[in-house]
Structures are given as structure tokens and as C-alpha cells.
Amino acid sequence: MSLDQPQLDLSPKVSDEVRKTTCYMCACRCGINVHMKDGKVAYIEGNKDHPVNQGVLCAKGSAGIMQHNAPSRLRAPLKRVGERGSGEFEEISWDEALELAVSWLKPIRETAPEKLAFFTGRDQSQSFTGLWAQSYGTPNFAAHGGFCSVNMAAAGIYTMGGAFWEFGQPDWDRTKMLMIFGVAEDHDSNPIKMGIGKIKKRGAKLIGVNPIRTGYNAVADEWVGITPGTDGLFILSLIHCLMKAGKIDLDYLARFTNASVLINEDPGSEQYGLFIRDENGQPQVIDRRTGELAAWNGQGVEPDLSATYRNAGVTHRPVFHLMADRYLSDEYAPENVAETCGLTPERIRAIAAELARVAFDEAIELDRAWTDFRGKKHDKMIGRPVSFHAMRGISAHSNGFQTCRALHTLQIILGSVETPGGMRFKPPYPKPATAHPKPHGKVTPGAALDGPHLGYTHGPEDLIIDNEGNPKRIDKAYSWDNPMSAHGLMHMVISNAYAGDPYKIETLFMYMANMSWNSSMNTSGVMKMLTDKDESGEYVIPRIIYSDAYSSEMVAYADLILPDTTYLERHDCISLLDRPICEADGVADAIRWPVVEPDRNVRGFQSVLCDLGARLGMPGFVNEDGSAKYKDYADYITNHIRRPGVGPLAGFRGEDGQKSGRGEVNPNQIQAYIDNGGFWIEHVPENAAYYKPFSNEYQDWAVEMGFYDAVQPYIFQLYVEPLRKFQLAAEGVGQRQPPEHLRERIKTTMDPLPIWYLPFEDGHVDPVEYPIHALTQRPMAMYHSWGTQNAWLRQIHGHNPLYVPTKIWEANGFKDGDWAKVTSAHGSIVVPVAHQASLNSSTIWTWNAIGKRKGAWALDENAPEATKGFLLNHLIHELLPPKGDGLRWANSDPITGQAAWFDLRVKIEKSDVPNEAQPALPPIKSPVGKGPKELGWKVGQ
């Protein structure tokens, strides 16, 4: 180096210590290295050893330091002193807060536990919060799945024992073509970005199906700018083309799916449309070796995809014949669906042909021997290297469940699930619907509920309804309104509680759920429901307890605030009992631990629940002598036993920490996780890496690891018999009958084979008056109201224009800087617009939840989030508009109850430029003040 250049220290000390924990800036749960200086958080980067992110970290994760130190952090328990919604609070002690909570919760538990509704939002500890609610005895518990992606989860579980994200992933190292549908840019975001990088490097093809071309769709080789709500029809057309051309994996369909299972085709039978079963209840196939009936899982059986069974004058055919009847129909020919989907027939055919070409001409063979559950030995693993991934875009519609089912059917007929190059499950998945619990809702005052709240129904007998057929749950989950609502319906809780339908509640208890803002449809309506009083002057929803770490919009609407910690100050377990972090090649779980202690009077919410459970004397939370069973959440994580040898964490079990999966309690388990970088992983044996549902090698390993207690091989359910059972009831069969007004809808929508129907809003709202679809997306660098409005991230996404496609832009004569009035059947907003050409021509959209209420999040009241930012939620109602039949229909999927956010139809017109986005709500008083003007963040010297 020449002498006149500065001498630099090229090896400065990076930090005093690295503490490895799990990110919580979104739901991905990446591993992070937290660099500490002088006992403070100095820098956060990805953990290279971690199975989820392998060292990379997104913008949110890297901005964690601003979240951890945010001025919006709550500081102490708060008791409301002004009117609800005013934001007037006084700080109280934890003892006072907990005693107040007990004074509300104890009488309810002793008399009518269902009067507590406990909903936990974007909770990552549902196996714990669910246990707490079960022990309390209320049937009214769920988390946020009902307004998020339950269609995807439930369709996947019922069809093939798992869906995407936590359940499964593309075979990133082998796939030759990936097709993504409606993939939001937040869920599973680092793994998807890493995967897209991998397949791009190999030159594999990426096809993006999405009305909006941003993010992943912007880098896709092919963009399919589909019309919202029509993905199911497009997919069924692809199935039509592939079946018609015989480009389907017949061997796979016969062996590993119920395409070969015989259906009772006697219209006079009460079993009409159900499986033909033997005396042991096993579904029957025709064995190609004998031509005779045989159980689907009989040793050596070779199921026949084509042969029929004649009995008592009726011919019973296998499922595959029913599929041929339906999908070969011209109804699904590209020419007949293209216009509805906003595509051309040629494009649909080209994509179908490309799927066929890659799946069959570029098939993969791995020289790995394995044995299937019928005892047949296979010397190779054959792969159809096309893979798929989908998320909320197809899920958040009233036809979302069937659309997700259609997508899985497409994957399965190509033979590309659990085969090399296709989609792979992540242990402990796959797990069929029959291996999940059924829902429970039997209430006994002063005692626990009769079982876990959430599960999978298999017919009318599993519904949570009373003898008159009325819902037992406040959200009407598992009722005839939505019989397969596997995640509950958080978005209906407040409106049902307000209406007293099916009954009134006493206390609403919520965690991490911004219901008075972006987590509700009909935001202004919800604020009114939360603040409205009855004739006696009492609030209609009498008491509200809320826990959050930050000064969110919801805080002002609670009577008691239990302040949570930040993610760097707490214990958590990312458990196999809940939403695990596994990879297709490994089972894994992880922890969070306090890498710094809180500097405020706050407590981790789960530790508070341990305390509350003890104060209420709840079973499982007290010892025999009545003393508290768990000191805090860490104590629970270490010592709770769910089933023999199985606890919240699967790693480092046994007294010496040497056991994996099953084992006794290890008192030093959390330290073992910390020493291992915050996680544990055990790899799937190579010969069990594919064909997991059908493979003896995998099933044996799964039992050894404690995923379940006995092997349970199964076949994919192209034909979902439980759907048919509900349909049969609607046809008049059986004791439990749906109410008359739901009969036709159940018959139509609960089809055991995937169908497509128009989004419900199209039948309630005039498509001519409201011709435009309106959507939201989450940006990759911001996670709605999960945390605070982060000082660094808000400089990237500080406001959210409404993006308008060229056709609508020109038709309205919009110019840069213009504002528009957007109107739905429910309401209007006035917002700034921006032009985007790479957009479906009848779709407008904006970033989700950038808009903030004045006074929330320690932001200045003039922050752009509060003046120009906006929510589409104001345009969406939890009920569809009346259509003259005297009924109000839910704006939800009729099968699962998933909130149909993306069915929204609007019209748009140019507006005068208002002072700020409309509706403009008055500021709420901040319990934490405002953030500092300037930041120059450096903890080390």
C-alpha cells in the first residue's frame, strides 16, 4: 500500500459474544446470530448452520435491532381509565393486573367457561395456548388461521396429509420446473428466495401465476397474470388437458392414491358416493392379480385403476372413472375457461404441454431401494420433476378450499408429490386427516374441555353443534356454516360476540391480534362493536384483555393490557407439536431464549399464562398441593409431557440429553439447545427421503422419532369421503341434518372431487357496477402489524399507493399524484394512486397494513402511514351484502370458513386531492409517547 493512504484496521473486533436464537420478525422462524457488545444487541445476521435460512436473512430480520429497541414497546401493565378506545390508561403492578384478570376469569370458569373467548392471533405457541384454553374449559379458542390460510392447510391435510410451507416444499435441488400460485412474498420467504436462487442457477423454469407481477413473479420466466378467484378453473383446465392426453402417472395413481378405490354408485343406498368397504371398514379396490375385491392396504395387492365391481345389479366404479367423467368434459377445455381466467386457450395448452414434457420426458430416477406398505419392493425412486407452491392468493377466496384441492390433484396426477423433483413433505408431516385429532367442544363448568379444540371433522357426527344444530363455538367453527373449519374463525369472534349470536360472552382475551385495525374485515365496524354499550350502559362485549409487546391500534380497545416482551427477551419453543421448522430431509425444532433481559416491567405472555393458570387452579397448571406447576414458560418447555416421552422439544431429551424424539425430561434441555445454536435437527434416512406416506422405511423412522405411536401408511385422497358425507346429509341422509337454507350450498360446494365455482361476492355484488378486483400483498421488507413500524423498514415501505393497471389508469385519466375514490358494496376509501403496467387488467392492489392509525406505534401523527397510508379492510365486510333472500351470508369459504378477503369487487373514480386518506379516524392517545427525532445507533465504541 502506498504511504499516503490511511492505515486501516482490517480485523476489528466484531463483537464480545454471539448469542444464537430464532428470529420473530415474521413467521419464517430463521436462525439468527445476535452479536452483543457491552451487553447490548449490536448486529443481527443469519445463522449459517440453521436449517431454515442457512445463513441468509431478509430485510426484516436484519432490522430486528430497531424492533427490539422500538419506542412503541409497552412498558408496564395497563388498566383502562377512560372510555374504551380513548387510549386512557394507568400503569399498574403485575400483581394487580393478574388479580384483576383472575377476578374476571374465575367466576366465568366456575359457571360458564364458554363466556371466555380466547383467541391468540399470530401466535407461534398454539400447542401451549391451546392447552391452556382446554384446561380452562372454554370451547372458544383458535389462532389466526381462519383469516389467513386455512383453506390451504385444510385442503392439503384432507387431500394428501400436508400442504405447503410448514408442511412441504419443492424439491429445490432436483426440480426442473416450479409453478407458483398466489404466493405472498412473506410466508416461508427466505426458503423460497433461496430455492428460487437455486433453480435459477440450474436454469430450471419458474412460472408465476398471480394477477400482480412483483417479487417472485417479477423474476419468473413466465408470468400468468390470471384474474383473481379463477385459479381453480385454470388448474382444472390443466388437469383436463393432461388427462385427455394420458399425460398422467397411472402407476402412481393406482398404488398411492384412492383413484383405485371403489365408490358405491347405488343411488338408492345410504352409502351412495361413499367408499365400498369390507367388514373391517377398509376401502376396497380390485386386485389386479385376482380381479377380486381386496383391501386398499392388503399385502401384495395390486390396485386396479380401471376395473369395476358389479354387485346386486349395480356397477361400482373406482374414483378414477369419476375423475374421467368430470375432467374430460369440455366444460374444462381451455377454450371454455380462458376468458373467465383472463388468459388465452393457447397459453393454457402451452403450460399443460410444458408440464407434461418436463414431468415425463425429463423424469428422474434415483437408485435408491425402498419398500411400500403393501410389501412391494421398489429398486428405484422415480421422479416427475415439476413442483408447485401456493399461498394466500388462491386460499383467501370463497372457492379457496376447492381451488387448493384442485392444485393438489394436479400435483398428484402428475405423480409429483413425495417423488424426486416434485413436492416433498417436511417431517412430522405427512400426516393424514385421520391421524389428527377431531375437534372438541364439550363444556363442563369448573373443569377442562373434553379434548383439543381444533381438529379435522370426518362427517356430520364430528360437528360442534348442539341438539338443535346450533353452533357451540362463538365463531361458529365446525357448524353447518363451515363444517371443516380446522383453524377456527377468528375474524367472526367480535361480530358474533357483539350480536350475541350464538350467545353473549363476558370476556374477550386476545394475544398478538390487531383486531381494531388490519386483522379485521370492516375495521370501522369492529371499532364500534368494541366500544358500543347496551341500554344499561355496559359495554356489549363486557371485558377485553389484550397482550401485545407494542403500542398497536388494538391496545386502546382493551380494559387490561398485559405487556409482552420483544422476541430477544423471551423463551419460546418452535415445537413439533405446533408449527415446526423442519426441512424435507430433516426433523427440526428450535427455541428462543432471552439474549437480553427486558429493561421494562414486561413479561413473556406464555409465562403470564402459566401464572394465570396456577392462580385459577387449572388442571395441568397446578401441583397436587395447589402450588404453581410451572415457574415460567421455560419451565413448561422443559418439563411438560404431552405423551409418554414426548414434550414440546424433541431434541436433547433423556436425563443425559442423548435422546432424540422420544425420551425423558432433560432438566438441562434449554441449555443444550443454546449450546447447539438454538435448534436441533435429525436427518431423515436416505431411503426414507421420498414416498414418505407409503414407505415402510419412513413410517418406522417416524414412530421411532415419536411423530406418532404406530405406523400409519395412507394413500392420497383425490376423492375426499368426508366431503361426500356432508353432501349426503344435505341430500337428506342421516340423523344430523343441515338447516334448510344451507342444504343447496352444501350439496354444491362440498363436492368430494375438486370443483370450481364463482367467488361468492360475484353472486351478491353486481359485477357490472363493481367490475374491478382489489387485492393486497405483503411486501418482503415489512410484516404488517406483527411488530412495530420499524425505523429502518418504514423508509422502504412508508406509504402504500393503490396500484392501477394501464387500462383503468387511462380510462380514468389518472396522472401521477392523483387520488381516487374506491367503492365496494360495503364502503368507500379515498387514496393515492400509482400506475403499474405489469398487472392483470381488471385488478388493483396495494401493500397490506402499511396504513396506521394516528397515535399508534409511537409514530408522529403526521407520519405518512397515518396520512397517506390506508387499509383495504374498510371495503370488506365479514358478511356479504343482502341479496334479498332474507339471510346474511358470511364472506367466507363455505367449507372451512376462511375469510374471503380476495373476493373483493370495487369500482374506482378520480377524486379531489383530500388532506389525507379517507376514512380518516381521530388519533388515539399513545400510552408510550412518541419516538425520538433522530437515530444514530451504535452500541460499541
Binding site: M1, Q5, P6, L8, S11, P12, K13, V14, Y43, E45, G46, L57, C58, A59, S62, N190, K193, M194, I196, G197, K200, G215, A218, V219, D221, E222, L242, M243, K244, A245, G246, D251, R288, D304, S306, H321, A324, D325, E346, R349, A350, I351, A352, A356, M780, W792, L793, R794, Q795, A837, S838, L839, D860, A863, K930, G931, E934, L935, G936, G940
Partner: protein, 253 residues
């Protein structure tokens, strides 16, 4: 007026793949985090929770819509930071010598103790890659994480710029573009890497890899044989099915 050193054999820089960049801003924030805590003054933020938040960033991602003559509009994500030019006008314009190009590896840096915050360098940079920090009054720019890439306190695999280490899609690559055999030089050769605004004559070291052509699925008639129907009706389909099944291994009854 500051002089550039003779061109170094080693030219450290970034290669950024515009085909793969999904526009997630991971690099932007990772850079902000590392360089706030490390080299020189922290990257400050003004009105951090207010009406006009504005902070110092060394790396930003812009997105541009491109409308091809035919076909659908496309969206290109374009990360931009200092390109460590060989003929760096930001260096030669510096009145105090604070702005300099390292003789050994070509990294362009600002020696903050000599910087008077006059802003001439930012004015001279045709790429807008320098930002004056409003709190410290010194010029900030990409250091290529000079305090990481040689740092013996970091594991060897981590001796790369923070933006490269964190990029989820693997769209950012770091290496010696002076060595034609390096991985980054090979990537540039294979993928037709290009200079940003070569007409400015700054000879940037950083290269960009162009997006691959999009929406180019073959016309359906090329692919049509893949969808040739196996039968004309449902009955024919079952006939085909029986024949196809008997052709499978173990198919003969």
C-alpha cells in the same frame, strides 16, 4: 483534487444478478445494520418516526417497469451501491484527499477524519451512490465491507460483504474482477455481465448480470404433440386406460 493510484491488479467488487434479484431489500438493511455498528460514523436516520423519515443508506434497491415492444410489462429490481470505479470521479474531485481508492484492491473509501462534508464527490458520482450523513456531516458510501472481508476475527466463510452474505436469492456475488479466472469473472463472462452507464467513462468494477428473456414459452404448436388426445370420447379413454395399465410393470393379469 485527489489522485487515483495506478490501477491495481486486484479489483474487488460485486456482481449483481438482475435475473435473480427479487427486490426484497435484504441487502439494503443488512448493509445498514453492519455499517451503522462498524466502519466510521453510524448511518443515522432523521425524523425516524415522523412525517419525512430520511436516513443514510449505502445500498438501495430501485424497481423499474420495462414495457417490451411485444408482450407483458416486466418489473426489474435494481440494487445500487458504489461501483468502485477504476476512474472514480468522486476521488479526483475530493478537495481534501478524504475520498480515495485503495491501491491494493481498488476499494473506494472515505477517510472520515479528513472529510469536510462538502458533497462534491456525491455531485461527481454519476450513479448517485454516495450519501452525506446528516447527523455526522461526513460522506458515507459502500466500503465493500472492508472491515469484514479481511477480518481475521470472522470465520473465513463470513469474510464477504454483509449484503452478499445475507442475500436470500444468491443474487449478489463478491470477488476479484481483476482475475479473469475468479468465480465472479467467470460468471460475468458466461452471463454477459455489463457495466452500468459505460458512456460515463468511469470503468466501474461492479458488474450486473442481465435478466434472462421472459415470457418466451414455445408456441403451442411446438408443444402440441404432448397434448395429443389418447381417445376421442370417454369410452375410448377407458379403452386407452386398460391398454396403458396392462403395459405397466406387473400389468398382465
Amino acid at each position: 483534487m485527489t489522485q487515483l493510484p495506478p490501477p491495481s491488479a486486484k479489483k474487488l467488487g460485486l456482481v449483481i444478478d438482475l435475473d435473480t434479484c427479487v427486490g426484497c431489500h435484504a441487502c439494503v438493511v443488512s448493509c445498514k445494520g453492519w455499517n451503522t455498528e462498524n466502519y466510521g460514523a453510524p448511518l443515522s436516520d432523521q425524523d425516524a418516526y415522523g412525517a419525512n423519515p430520511s436516513g443514510t443508506f449505502l445500498n438501495r434497491v430501485h424497481s423499474y417497469e420495462v414495457q417490451p415492444a411485444q408482450g407483458e410489462a416486466q418489473l426489474i429490481h435494481f440494487p445500487k451501491s458504489c461501483l468502485h470505479c477504476e476512474d472514480a470521479p468522486c476521488v479526483t474531485v475530493c478537495p481534501t484527499g478524504a475520498s480515495y481508492k485503495r491501491a491494493d484492491d481498488g476499494i473506494v473509501l472515505v477517510n472520515e477524519s479528513d472529510c469536510i462534508g462538502c458533497g462534491l464527490c456525491a455531485w461527481a458520482c454519476p450513479y448517485g451512490a454516495r450519501e452525506l450523513d446528516a447527523k455526522e456531516g461526513v460522506m458515507k458510501k459502500c466500503t465493500l465491507c472492508v472491515d469484514r472481508i479481511y477480518n481475521e476475527n470472522l470465520p473465513e466463510e463470513d469474510r464477504q460483504p454483509a449484503c452478499v452474505r445475507t442475500c436470500p436469492a444468491g443474487a449478489r456475488h463478491f470477488g476479484d474482477l481483476g482475475d479473469p479466472d475468479s468465480d465472479v469473472s467467470q460468471l460475468v463472462a458466461e452471463r454477459g455481465g455489463f457495466d452500468l452507464m459505460p458512456e460515463q467513462g468511469t470503468k466501474p468494477v461492479n458488474k450486473y448480470l442481465p435478466p434472462r428473456p421472459k415470457d418466451e414459452m414455445p408456441e403451442f404448436d411446438v408443444l402440441a404433440p404432448y397434448l395429443e388426445p389418447v381417445a376421442s370420447d370417454g369410452k375410448g379413454f377407458v379403452g386407452w386406460l386398460d391398454k396403458a395399465l396392462s403395459a405397466l410393470p406387473g400389468g398382465a393379469k
